[in-house]
């Protein structure tokens, strides 16, 4: 499916509105983390990945693993808008007995590739999926979306050492670099910077993009595989809480959920009310 940029921007605003609404309705945290990766997911699901919502288990499909599982609302809303499951299911988010828990569960909703929430798993799993594709002569691509705080997990760097040696050039890591983690600035808690150079030093082709510029995200993602034989790391500079003025770059929204008034204000800002 290809859509023009204006359509994708509208889609991203709708998804943001839904994400804020889900957080309000269920009283769930991690809203800022979800809002920061919406454009990444929209670009991937509507402009890059070879997927068919009617056949979510097609063995030849491209895969996206949202390794930062705490941003599940962004993934669920994107999948629902893309037609993987009905909006009625999306509206059961976090309700008792729902197939959509606060963080993705295995074999839950169509389109969810892996259960995440414990950080630092998605990339290694994605590399296994990529190697399986090679063994089974399938040419799909694997995209793994991680958070910057997640890069503090040691397994991320085990995986980062593993992928280049096996020339897994069909793998893209996208780091939603919003400069915050649960309780503070990510670069004040661990020595992440310079992040692009770290990935390069591990043998990846790395680039930095504005993680809210859909065109830039599409261009970077579409270049994979880039012919160099290397896996690709896209450092996407983002803003936590992006799209709602009073949530942007305010880490309180890692934990808070909006009240009715805040939801209404957010929807107005997003042009949805």
């Amino acid at each position: 499916m290809t859509a023009n940029l204006a359509e994708l921007e509208t889609l991203a605003r709708n998804i943001r509105g839904k994400v804020v609404e889900l957080s309000h309705k269920a009283g769930t945290p991690h809203l800022g983390s979800a809002l920061s990766c919406v454009d990444i997911l929209v670009a991937a699901y509507s402009g890059v990945l070879a997927i068919d919502p009617k056949h979510p288990d097609d063995p030849n499909r491209d895969r996206l693993i949202l390794s930062k599982g705490h941003a599940a609302t962004a993934l669920f809303a994107t999948l629902a808008h893309r037609g993987f499951f009905p909006m009625a299911l999306l509206d059961t988010f976090a309700e008792s007995g729902s197939r959509l828990p606060e963080q993705p569960s295995p074999h839950g909703a169509p389109g969810v590739e892996w259960a995440t929430g414990s950080l630092g798993h998605g990339l290694s799993v994605g590399l296994g999926v990529a190697l399986a594709g090679r063994i089974q002569s399938r040419s799909y691509r694997v995209v793994v979306v991680m958070s910057d705080g997640e890069c503090e997990e040691g397994t991320v760097w085990e995986a980062a050492l593993f992928a280049p040696i096996h020339k897994l050039d069909n793998v893209t890591v996208i780091i939603d670099y919003n400069k915050w983690q649960a309780t503070g600035r990510s670069n004040e808690i661990m020595n992440l910077s310079p992040l692009r150079q770290k990935w390069e030093a591990f043998g990846w082709n790395a680039c930095e993009v504005d993680g809210h510029d859909l065109n830039a995200l599409l261009t970077a993602m579409k270049q994979v595989p880039d012919g160099s034989g290397k896996p690709v790391a896209i450092i996407a500079h983002t803003v936590k809480g992006k799209g709602v003025s009073f949530m942007q770059d305010d880490n309180n929204w890692h934990y808070r959920s909006p009240n009715a008034e805040e939801l209404q204000k957010a929807r107005q800002e997003l042009g949805l009310a």
């Binding site: 063995p59 295995p106 074999h107 892996w114 259960a115 414990s118 798993h121 290694s124 799993v125 994605g126 590399l127 296994g128 999926v129 990529a130 190697l131 399986a132 594709g133 063994i135 089974q136 040691g154 397994t155 085990e158 995986a159 050492l161 593993f162 096996h166």
Partner: protein, 306 residues
């Protein structure tokens, strides 16, 4: 057991295109034949076991049958998080193979001992736990587990252990094998303790006590039928394992027993104590220290049978 594993997995990988071998930088030359015959399905994952397990989970989710192999503590307790979340939570058929179970690598120190792995792995939902007794059981178990759709943990010893089975026993996951019939006491051995358990049975025979010996290769799921029959029939049922007294095979049988009405037999758990071994020494030394020898076991059974 190690060489039997290498030779059998090579055979199986040539027969079954789903089989992929993942090694944690171990088995120097052990897999040369495999690598020659199936080069595209062998990956040395380096000294990065956590990544190896999750890579295996990703492969298994695509229909492959990865077999991840390294020294027991590094493929069990070190990577519990990856086994729990990526393998067991997703219920994907990764075969986790630990070499050097229990005190096999005693001389390398307690970092390389593994007397807690059964306890850790058996509490994970979906996980099957198998401890083959000898090279024959290793081959049979490997064939059987590759037909499973669940995660499996296989605990091997080292190389050169005695082969107990003279023929090819009927190997079914979850069904224990009676190796030596007897009438007074029943010795349930798991994994590499089987030859020593047979020695203990011999020693008991000399004292006029007839001991049945069972290779209880599957710790999870337990062979409940055999347990029920044994506890109804014998005076003493003993569990024998090269693993901690806490949470292992004996622990598992004790849990099973606790939920049932009083039985004819009393349970006697023979295992390593709740401690680390700090001194140097080979497996034989470590077993001597912990009382895991034929004579020591026979003595404990005699006391329990009094």
């Amino acid at each position: 057991m190690r060489n039997a594993f290498a030779s059998e997995i090579t055979k199986l990988a040539t027969e079954d295109e789903r089989v992929v071998m993942l090694s944690g930088d171990i088995g120097n030359r052990l897999f040369d034949d495999y690598k020659k015959r199936v080069p595209k399905r062998f990956f040395n994952c380096g000294v990065a076991e956590a990544n190896m397990i999750s890579v295996g989970a990703g492969m298994a989710s695509c229909g492959l049958r990865p077999v991840a192999y390294t020294i027991t503590p590094f493929i069990t307790t070190r990577v519990m998080e990856q086994i729990r979340v990526d393998v067991c939570y997703h219920n994907v058929p990764v075969v986790i193979v630990g070499v050097g179970g229990g005190l096999s690598y005693a001389s390398l120190g307690a970092t390389h001992h593994s007397c807690e792995d059964i306890a850790f792995l058996r509490v994970l939902p979906n996980m099957i736990v198998i401890c083959p007794a000898d090279a024959v059981e290793v081959r049979l178990a490997l064939r059987a587990v590759l037909q499973q759709d669940s995660p499996v943990y296989m605990r091997l010893g080292k190389k050169g252990e005695p082969v107990v089975h003279k023929g090819i026993p009927n190997f079914v996951i979850g069904k224990a094998i009676i190796v030596r019939p007897g009438t007074d006491v029943c010795l349930l051995s798991t994994g590499n303790m089987l030859p020593t358990t047979l020695e203990a049975a011999e020693a008991l025979g000399h004292k006029g006590v007839s001991a049945q010996v069972v290779s209880f290769h599957t710790v999870k799921p337990l062979d409940e039928q055999l347990l029920a029959e044994s506890f109804a029939k014998f005076k003493v049922v003993a569990t024998i394992e090269e693993h901690s007294i806490l949470g292992g095979f004996g622990g598992s049988v004790a849990e099973w027993l606790a939920d049932r009405p009083a039985q004819e037999a009393r349970l006697c758990r023979i295992a390593t104590p709740d401690t680390f071994l700090h001194e140097a020494g080979e497996q034989e030394y470590a077993r001597e220290v912990f009382g895991l020898t034929g004579p020591h076991i026979a003595e404990k059974i005699l006391q329990a049978a009094r």
